[in-house]
Each structure stands twice: as C-alpha cells, then as structure tokens.
Amino acid sequence: MTLRHASYFLLMAVLLVLVGVLQSWSVAMGLLNMCLISAILALGVNIQWGYAGLFSVGTMGFVALGGLAVVLTSMPPVHEAWSAGGLGVLGGLAIGVLAIIAAVQVHRRMAKGWARLAVQAVVVIGGFFLYRAVLDPAVDAIEGTNTAVAGYLGGAGMPVILSWVVGGLLAAGAAWVIGKVSLGLRSDYLAIATLGISETIVAIMKNEDWLSRGVRNVNGLPRPVPYEVNLQNNPDFVAWAQSFGFDAVEGSSIFVKACYAVIFVVVLALIMWLSERAWNSPWGRMMRAIRDNETAAKAMGKDVKKRHLQVFILGSAVCGIAGAMLVTLDGLLTPATYQPLRFTFLIWVMVIVGGSGNNWGAVLGGFLIWFLWIEVEPIGIWAITNLTAAMPEDSGLRAHLLDSAAHVRLLTMGIILLLVLRFAPRGLIPER
C-alpha cells in the first residue's frame, strides 16, 4: 500500500469524524458500523470476482441466508410449535431432499433414453406430491400455534455470536448446491442464474412462515452487547458518560455502537488477514491464472471447475457472515428489505470503485460507497432546499423536487460507477 492509498483511508476517517462533528457522534458510529459490514461484503464479492473472475450477482441471497441463520441460532425454540409439527416439517424436507438425490442417482446410473426420463419424472413428481402431503399439514399446525408472537419453530437458543459462524456455513452450503448446478454456465448466463437464485432465496424467506415468520418479521433478536436501557439505569455509566460531556441517552447509544464496532473490526481484520494470506499464496496465484486464462490453466492440469466452486463457496460464506452481522446489528429480520439494488448491485459498485482484485481496495470501496449511499441524501436535500429557495413557498415543482431528493442516491451511485469505469477502470486502489 503506497502513501497515496493510505491517504484515501485517512480521508475516509476524516469524513466520518466530520459527520460526528456536524451531525452527531451517534450517527457517525452507526455509519461506521455499516461501513465495516459493507467492507466485509465487498471482500466477499472481491473473492468471487477479483480472485476468480466469477460474475455472480446472487450476493443478496447469501446475505439473506446469513440473516436467517441469526434467527435459527439465537432465538429460543418454540416448544409448542415443535410438538405441533416439528417432526412433520423435518420429515417433509427429508422426503424432498431424498427425491432430489434419487433423481440425480437415476440420472447417473441409468442409460440415456426415454426410460430414464420417465423414471426421473415419476421420482420427481411423486416426490413433490409426497413432500407436500407431509409438509403442508405440519406447516399449518406450526403456523397456527400462537400466531401473534410465534407461529414458527424458533431457533436453537444459542449465543448470537455463534450465529455468524452458522450464517457463513449456511451460505457456504447453499453456495455448494448452487455452484454445482450453475457454475458450468457461461459468464452472462451465470449472472442471470445467480440473480434468479437470490430472488428465490428471498421468496422462500418471505413465504415459509414456519421457518422465520415470513413477512411478519422476527424482532427482539438477542444482542452480543449491553442494552441502552440498562446502561441508562446504571448510575456509574451515566457518570462516566457525563465525564465525556454526553447525556445518558446519547452516551449509551454511542457506547453500544462502539461495542459493535469493536467486534466488527475484529471480524473484518480476521477476514482481511485470511484474504491477504490467500491472495499471496500459491492458491491465490493459481486462481489468478485461472481468471486470466482458463485454457492455459487447464493445460497446466488445474481443475478449473473445482476451483471455481471452491472460490464461489468461500466468497458466499463471507457474504453470509456479513449478513448475519447485519441482522444482529439491526436486532430484527425483515425479509422484505432484501432488494437486489441494495444488497447485490451496490456491493458490486463498492468492489469496482474500490478496485477489484485488491482486498484493501474492496474495503475502501465498502467504506466510501456506503458513506455516500447514506450521506448523499441529506446533501441532496440540502442542495435542493438552497437551489429552490428563490421559488415561492407553494410551488408544486419545489415540493416535488424536495420529495424526490431521496432518490438522488441511486443517480449518484450510477454516475460514480460510470466515471470510475471510464477514467479509472482498475479502481481507486488497483490490483498489484
């Protein structure tokens, strides 16, 4: 990292401090936390795109799976729901998985022809109806128990930090299945296939209420840090906060966010260290060789398909971890908020702007783009308010412009991406 690149990070720090001075320290800390998570997400995408050149736009799906992992790991189990339909759901899912395995085995074992197709059709269709027959009554039973607050199976009741690991594993498992099916596809085809998969994952999370309450959301997730209310009731803490010049409410909010920030920095540093090690290892050189010339790498005896699968799983796992951290920070899981513009394409902008193929670049991109994503809105409103100050108070155009100012951020992101692609195609911190 040269002096110039280090100065980018310094500038980023100055920007965050500026927010603290101009807006409030609580806002600045919140921004910092999201920047840290974005940096991890960008690292995940960088592993797939920068290391191996995989054009996968399914990031949103893995982030959502990470969020699901938090619910499945940390919420207390709902015992009534388990006794009402737990076995049925497990049985139904087992039947579904067995049917798919059976169909794959039929495909492998039998000779090609109409007979194989017929047997496969029977296995798949029969398996589907059997799966629905076992699953449906169990799901109805679960969703019927105490619908207002539960209506789902609950989680394992384990510490919430553990869910970050589980999120990574869940995303990795999904990536294995998805990669097996779709990594053989050509670049653009892979993009559409992964886009479709991510939409499907979110659709499942929205609809399968027995799993995570669907669009009724799960809130009140456990936290790895103290609650603000407890801090505000603690006289020692209040006195401590006042010694810095903050009142109890603001002090507690900043303290909680700072606790999150410390944990996130540790996770980011760990992933960053591993990524750098991987990048500089023989494995990293092999990945770049595959990325730059697949045919030559194949000729050298590298198993391209297997390496692609490996790097796809690793990148997805990192995205899953970030997704779990995000939901932990929010304290609630809202499947409806997962939108491709925000959770897939924005992450791509981070990687491209920061510098694909450079981990430091990805981190910088994560910080910078998230900062702009949030701060462009108040700046836009401020600018429009000033620009339209000369217009009469009741002007329809002025009201419309003020209402629309919030959408300036999409415009800004697009323009930044286009400018970087044109004038600095290798990003702010290019690959070495």
Binding site: T200, P340, F345, L411
Partner: protein, 336 residues
C-alpha cells in the same frame, strides 16, 4: 359440457393472462436478444429503460387526459406511445454516444460493458424515481372489458365464463403487429439483413462495407420501440411501478436465454414458455379437475403447485434446467 367448462376456466385464468403476459415479456426479451447479438453484451439496464419509456408515455397521457383528448374505448396511452418511443430512443442513443461507444472503440471485454450497463441501470432507475416517484401509477382509461365473464355466461349458457379485457386484446394485437414488423424488417430489408450479418460475423460484415455505427444506431432505435411498447402494455394490463419494471429483468433475460441469446425467434418462444409456466405453476387447479374427474376422484386440496410468490423461482428453475441439457438454449444461441 363439463369438458367445455373446464376449458373455459383454464382459458380465463391461465391461457389469456399467460398469453398477454408472455407477449409483454417477448417484446422485452427481443430487445435483450438483439442487443446481445449485435452489441455483444447483456443489457442490465433493460428493465429501467423500459420504465423510463413508459414514464414518458404516462406523462404525455396525463397531459392528453388533461386536454380532454380521448379515443374511447381505446386507452389514451396509445396516442402517447410515439412520444414515449422518441424519449426512449433519445435515452438509448444518448447512453450509447456517451458510454457504450467508448468501450466499442477500445474493444473492451464484454464484462466491462455489462458493468457499464449496471451504472446506466442505477442512473436511469434514479431518474425514473426522481421524476415520477417510486409509487404505483395508474394511467389506463377507456373501456375496461371487451366482454365480461357474465356476458360470456349469458351468451353461451356455460357455468364458467371467459372475460377479455381491452388491455389484453390490445397487448396481443400490438405484439403481433410489432413482431411481424420486426421479423419483416430483419429478413426482408437491406438494413435488417446487414444487422443479421453483423450479428453472425462482425469481421466479415465490416469487410463487406457495412457501417457498424449505423447498425448499432438502428438496433437501439428498434430496442426503443420494443421496450416502450412492452412497458406501456404491461402498465396498461397491470400497473406501473418502477421497482416492478426493474424486477421484470429476470423473466425477460430468462426468456432470452431459454430461447438462445441472439436468436429473436427463440426469445419469443422462451417468453411464452416462461409466462405459461409462471401462471400455470401458481394456479390452483382444483376447480379444473372437479369438472374433468368423476365425483369420487375429486381432489381435496387446492391443487396449486406453488404459491404465487414463487413466480420468479419458476422462471429461474426452468432456465437452469434447460441450460443443463442445452447450454445455448432451446434454439441455438450465441455465447460470448
């Protein structure tokens, strides 16, 4: 009689909606496949350009409605269509001039151009939301039904009815007209032939004196017509919401890939397959089987394969399944 009732039921709830939805998808997918064939990249901004053209149509429609212009029973939006096409053409030619042409000149790899189209996607998406807002907009007017379910029942004496909305009829008629126009253009005119030559073999086409900039400009003009018509028809049939149009990207691409990228006929076939399976898989077939099967065998459940929220999953599963067995789509497509 029962058999007829079952057919009418299927027609009303599956076939007609699927055909009109499929027509809208087909127009969109044709645009994607043309861009892929001639400009050689996946145009991710397609859904948003569609929203942009439709937005122009809506604004002009509102202005016309305000002036008291009406072509009842047809929707006023049809009058506004040429303006919308012109606006979309302006946008597409403008982005080509400022953005894509540079990458053509430096012969950038396709993936870089795809990234650029992601940038355009963000910009256009932001523009649409900035101008018309992110909410649902209704701009359909004119008569709603050509004939309603009740009219049909009274006329035929069947238990089940078949309703046809004007928007559905317009969709089908306009799509047929635009598609036959496009295929006539591609197969019969000199410019169309040079476009196909350019798509088949760029170097050979350049060698024979075809002007690439002209081919590209004509392609964008055709795409402007296709997306604006598709977007307007979709908006008349359902409603206009920028986010929905962005999401149409997935089924449109799925249709184009399913049929084979760069193959116009394939895109049309793919679109109808996607639409039929999306509607069919999420329709509850219970009543349909009640008519067909004897009482003792009547189904007890809804006979719905998947809930309607899974329609994106349908296009995606179909896509992956076909690609596994035919990597370049049903009709032979290109792969860059």
């Amino acid at each position: 009689m029962d058999f007829l009732n079952a057919l009418v039921l299927l027609g009303n709830f599956v076939l007609i909606p699927a055909i009109s939805y499929g027509s809208q998808l087909a127009l969109g997918a044709l645009g994607i496949t043309l861009i892929y064939g001639i400009l050689r990249f996946s145009h991710f901004a397609h859904g948003d350009v569609m929203a942009f053209g439709t937005m122009a149509v809506i604004l002009v429609t509102w202005w016309l409605q305000g002036m008291g212009v009406s072509i009842d029973p047809l929707p006023t939006a049809l009058l506004a269509l040429p303006v919308g096409i012109a606006v979309a053409a302006g946008l597409l030619l403008g982005t080509d001039r400022t953005i894509y042409r540079f990458y053509r000149k430096v012969k950038a790899p396709p993936i870089v151009v795809v990234m650029a189209s992601l940038g355009v996607m963000f910009v256009v998406n932001g523009l649409v939301r900035f101008i018309i807002g992110p909410d649902d907009q209704n701009f359909a007017d004119g008569a709603r039904f050509l004939f309603t379910v009740r009219d049909f029942k009274e006329a035929t004496g069947l238990d089940e009815g078949l309703g046809l909305r004007w928007s559905q009829l317009i969709t089908i008629v306009v799509t047929l007209a635009v598609m036959s126009g496009l295929f006539w253009f591609l197969n019969r005119t000199r410019t169309g032939k040079s476009m196909r030559a350019f798509s088949d073999n760029e170097d050979l086409a350049l060698l024979s004196g075809i002007n690439p900039e002209r081919v590209v400009a004509v392609t964008w003009l055709i795409v402007a017509v296709l997306v604006t018509v598709a977007g307007t028809l979709y908006g008349l049939d359902k409603s206009f919401k920028p986010f929905t149009y962005f999401q149409l990207l997935l089924p449109m691409f799925a249709a184009a890939i399913l049929g084979g990228m760069g193959n116009p006929l394939g895109a049309v076939a793919g679109a109808y397959i996607i639409a039929l399976s999306e509607v069919g898989v999420t329709y509850a077939f219970r009543k349909f089987f009640q008519y067909l099967l004897p009482e003792s065998m009547e189904p007890s459940g809804l006979m719905q394969l998947l809930s309607t929220d899974y329609k994106f999953a349908v296009s995606f599963v179909l896509l992956v399944f076909v690609l596994l067995f035919r990597p370049t789509g049903l009709f032979k497509g290109q792969s860059i």
